[in-house]
């Protein structure tokens, strides 16, 4: 009873006093770093895109593969993870009555670890000693400092995960028998997924360190790739789940509606957590050394992940339609007019969501062995992940920033910044349509990925790709304008916008909702099921790769 009163008091206090200052500092720091990285990563992307289109000659001290590696590391590892934790911890603090002092220590230590890691990773790339791309596939061998930096970065992520677990466990102890509030439930799922996904890549990196130091002569390439993708694919889905959290929890509030079924939401999260890590295998669908029946089984495993995504799509549009009709929307399509299209917080989330339809469809095509054989080593794949990460995830993050940054900064979103945000969102969308569309198309014509600009001795086929390269460059230029506007908006909302209260927009559960079953809270059980699925999926290829291993490979520096 006492704890219940304390909790109510705390919740009320949080509501009255707004955001907890110390917790806001955490989120603000994480988000600030995230958007600075976006700015730098954006310029690197532009340089790379223009160079790839044959429009820009890079200076002699900087080569294409260096820029490519840095762009990947900045955007995929740093921008996304810093943003994710800034966002999740703001939500945990808001929903669970402020972070525990112990948890804050965890998050700050994590921050230090991640920054040290990032610096250690970037130095060898700048020295041109680690142009191995963000996937760092052996036998490409980077400087040992690169791998050591990755370890620090991973430790930072683990500390953030553990901090979130402590926070949620503490809340559950004080609120026996209650369901963890929905945003924190998403945060739990995301952290569980990240915690376990980091294990395989940590094993890989801990093997690569002695190899890069020369203590071990050779490395098992296939095992390394498999361990990498167990993490790599899950990382993609961690961003996706972060974006999904905003679709389910935030978007309904922004349009003045309520959330869709609480049970369905939680089941989607559990399903994504259980089935995700094994999805990594479809990134290796044309790798050698894996028998066809095993590849077939993995097509099913991967398509299974599509199922909760379809549930999400259905739930989202159901919420939109229900809310719009309540507000007087009519007709089969006419109700769309009632949506707040002028509100950047909604517009960005909506486009992010809508883009997942073609992005997901492309993903399903790539999961299929025969179709993937056509596109796997082409620009199509680059187009695919610019559509998923660049639109679905990035626009969701941008949309979130328009209320999250003012919320943690004790400021408000002004109409001017809202307008700027709407313009930014459209520029970004059009830029990505150009760039990703051109990449998809030119990929179908055979233009390879992971190669710098070349005309292959003015071969006719290669010359035929050039118009698409131009379209890519146009898209890239629009995107850098988008990046600059976005970073300007974030800095403005963080430091210069008028002071005031901004709400953390969490939508209520639907009216007359049926109670959510308690088994959704049994994370221990779901984690064991997830481990079992992972064990079953990976035991086949890994045993084959290790028992029937070819001679290991020495390291190569091809750049």
């Amino acid at each position: 009873m006492e704890t219940a009163i304390n909790q109510t008091f705390k919740t009320k206090a949080t509501k009255l006093l707004g955001v907890n200052k110390e917790d806001a500092k955490i989120s603000k720091t994480y988000l600030f770093v995230s958007f600075v990285i976006l700015l730098v990563g954006g310029f690197l992307g532009l340089a790379q895109g223009l160079n790839r289109a044959g429009l820009l000659e890079l200076p002699s001290w900087l080569n294409y593969y260096q820029v490519l590696t840095m762009h990947g590391v900045f955007m995929l590892l740093a921008f996304t993870t810093f943003f994710t934790f800034g966002y999740l911890y703001a939500g945990l603090s808001h929903e669970l009555g402020g972070l525990l002092p112990k948890v804050r220590k965890f998050v700050w230590t994590a921050f230090a670890s991640k920054i040290i890691g990032a610096v250690l990773v970037v130095i060898p790339i700048l020295m041109n000693e680690a142009s191995v791309m963000y996937t760092f596939y052996p036998p490409l061998k980077a400087h040992p400092m690169f791998y050591i930096g990755l370890v620090f970065f991973a430790v930072g992520m683990w500390l953030c995960n553990v901090g979130a677990f402590i926070q949620v466990a503490n809340w559950r102890k004080n609120n026996k028998g209650k369901h963890v509030p929905i945003f924190s439930y998403f945060a739990t799922g995301i952290n569980v997924l990240m915690f376990f996904a980091l294990i395989p890549v940590a094993i890989e990196v801990l093997y690569l360190i002695p190899w890069s130091l020369g203590w071990v002569k050779t490395v098992n390439v296939m095992v390394s790739r498999t361990l990498f993708w167990a993490f790599g694919h899950t990382l993609v889905n961690i961003w996706y789940l972060t974006a999904t959290s905003a679709w389910y929890v935030i978007a309904p509030k922004l349009i003045g509606g309520r959330r869709w079924s609480d049970t369905l939401t939680r089941v989607v999260i559990i399903a994504l957590v259980i089935m995700n890590i094994t999805g990594g295998f479809h990134h290796q669908i044309i790798d050698p050394g894996i028998s066809l029946p095993v590849k077939m089984m993995h097509v099913f495993m991967s398509l299974a992940i599509g199922f909760p995504s379809l549930m999400t799509a259905w739930a989202m549009f159901a919420v939109f339609e229900k809310t719009a009709r309540k507000q007087g929307g009519k007709g089969l399509i006419g109700w769309y007019k009632k949506m707040p299209w002028g509100d950047v917080r909604f517009l960005a989330l909506f486009i992010s969501m809508a883009s997942f339809a073609p992005a997901g469809a492309g993903g399903i095509a790539q999961t299929t062995n025969q179709l993937d054989t056509v596109v796997h080593n082409t620009m199509w794949i680059v187009g695919h992940f610019h559509l998923t990460l660049g639109v679905t995830v990035a626009l969701a993050f941008f949309g979130i920033s328009y209320w999250l940054v003012p919320y943690i900064s004790g400021r408000v979103l002004t109409p001017q910044i809202n307008k700027l945000g709407v313009i930014q969102t459209w520029i970004w969308t059009i830029g990505m349509i150009f760039m990703s569309g051109a990449m998809h198309t030119v990929g179908l014509f055979g233009s390879p990925r992971r190669t710098s600009f070349t005309t292959y001795g003015d071969h006719a086929t290669a010359l035929g790709w050039n118009p698409y390269m131009m379209a890519m460059a146009v898209g890239g230029t629009l995107l850098i304008i988008g990046v600059i506007l976005q970073v300007y908006a974030v800095i403005n909302m963080m430091f210069f916008a008028p002071r005031g209260e901004t709400e953390f927009p969490i939508a209520e559960a639907e009216e007359n909702a049926s109670p959510t079953p308690y088994w959704t809270e049994r994370w221990g059980l779901w984690i064991v099921v997830m481990l079992l699925v992972v064990a079953m999926a990976y035991v086949v290829p890994l045993t084959e790769f290790i028992v029937n291993a070819p001679p290991g490979s020495p390291g190569f520096k091809t750049w």
Partner: protein, 185 residues
């Protein structure tokens, strides 16, 4: 009734020759995917019979022990290399596999699980952990082919499948031993 139909459909799907042939072409998929799915199909179908004939189950499986013993015997039998070979060679044994794993393993598991007390459940978990560790070690360490139908590499893979499953059960046992649910629920 709905669950019965789902279970039956799953059973039929698994028994369709191309699907059965495909799943049986890889040793670990045969034992760790096809067989558990047949048990699961029986598990789903059991509900109808439990509702229709409650007295039969009460009479013969009052405390859940007879049912779970039957389950253990059937599942134990199907972890043997020889039984898998037989299923692939003899049509009648293949039919017996589908019938036994659904009716004699899936059914009693469903009925017994809620009748067993926590001690019984934990004994079952520990039994299967030990069984999986031993069988896993057998499959990994055997220097010769144990099944005529599968290569040694597949045997080793299956062995590791058993070991990792055993590890997962151990993790679950540690989890339920060291976390106090009453603190949270």
């Amino acid at each position: 009734m709905q669950q019965f139909i789902y279970g039956l459909l799953l059973l039929i799907a698994l028994a369709i020759p191309p699907i059965a042939h495909f799943m049986e072409s890889v040793m670990i998929i045969h034992m760790h995917m096809q067989m558990p799915m047949v048990v699961f199909a029986g598990f789903l179908m059991a509900r109808l019979f439990m509702d229709r004939f409650p007295r039969f189950f009460d009479k013969w499986n009052g405390n859940g022990v007879p049912g779970i013993l039957l389950f253990v015997i059937i599942v134990g039998f199907w972890t043997l290399p020889r039984s898998m070979d037989d299923a692939l060679t003899e049509q009648s044994v293949e039919v017996f596999k589908f019938v036994s794993l659904s009716l004699l393993a899936g059914f009693p598991l469903r009925d017994s699980w809620k009748r067993l007390n926590s001690l019984g459940k934990n004994i079952l978990f520990i039994f299967f952990t030990i069984l999986f560790l031993v069988v896993g070690w057998l499959y990994i360490d055997a220097p010769v082919q144990l099944c005529n139908n599968y290569l040694v590499i597949e045997q080793i893979t299956l062995g590791w499948g058993f070991l990792t499953t055993a590890i997962c059960i151990v993790i679950y046992l540690i989890y339920i031993t060291f976390t106090d649910r009453t603190k949270y629920e």
